[in-house]
């Protein structure tokens, strides 16, 4: 594969990645609505929590690596070049701040209402991971659209 073909492949993969990450982040956030709208439901709780946990870990890996599922070292290097790495770091910072704001909000909320440890972790991780992935996808989409 020539260098130009690799550039074109990285371009296509980059656009697809930003779209997939964007949809994943939205699905992740929307998927929490049933959990929080009916927190007392216990019937399918293990399944729901298990699905959330797997998705959260998957998304965490995606944010950390920029797409660990993709193959081809040279194309992957192009895909995760300087711009993407900068976007990745900025998005991780967004995730950190979202998690901190969620944690501090829960701390205040816990003064008035009991918040279980599971619910607190769920909210903090959802805020941190979801916002980081959404931020990365948005930054990448914007970078692809310019010009």
């Amino acid at each position: 594969m020539s260098e130009i073909e690799r550039i074109e492949k990285a371009e296509r993969l980059g656009r697809s990645r930003s779209r997939v990450f964007f949809v994943m982040a939205i699905v992740f956030f929307v998927g929490q609505i049933p959990y929080f709208s009916n927190p007392g439901a216990t019937g399918d709780a293990p399944f729901r929590i298990g699905a959330w946990l797997i998705l959260a870990m998957l998304m965490l890996l995606l944010i950390a690596t920029g797409g660990f599922l993709l193959r081809g070292r040279k194309v992957l290097d192009l895909l995760n070049d300087e711009t993407s790495r900068t976007n990745q770091l900025a998005s991780q910072a967004v995730g950190f701040w979202a998690a901190m704001i969620a944690a501090l909000s829960l701390y205040v909320a816990a003064m008035f209402k009991t918040v279980s440890l599971n619910a607190a972790v769920h909210i903090i991780v959802t805020a941190g991971v979801g916002s980081a992935l959404l931020s990365f996808a948005t930054r990448e989409r914007r970078a692809h659209r310019i010009g």
């Binding site: 260098e3 130009i4 690799r6 550039i7 074109e8 990285a10 371009e11 980059g14 290097d77 192009l78 895909l79 070049d81 300087e82 711009t83 993407s84 900068t86 914007r142 970078a143 692809h144 310019i146 010009g147």
Partner: protein, 65 residues
């Protein structure tokens, strides 16, 4: 603010964004965002771009005061 004349220099060479990207080993998106002043490149990338285009870094990038 960091200003550049990357687009002019690239067009003068008759290269596409993808061709310049291939010369310096980055994605077309990175060339595009640098040209549009959305992204400030690292020193390493600035030197690579200047070398590929046969210019000095100062000829390619400067700070608008």
């Amino acid at each position: 603010m960091l200003i550049n004349r990357l687009r002019e220099a690239r067009v003068a060479k008759g290269w596409t964004q993808a061709e310049l990207a291939a010369q310096v080993g980055v994605s077309r998106k990175t060339i595009n965002t640098v040209e549009n002043r959305v992204f400030t490149p690292s020193t390493t990338l600035a030197i690579k771009l200047a070398t590929a285009l046969g210019l000095s870094v100062e000829q390619l990038f400067w700070i608008d005061r």
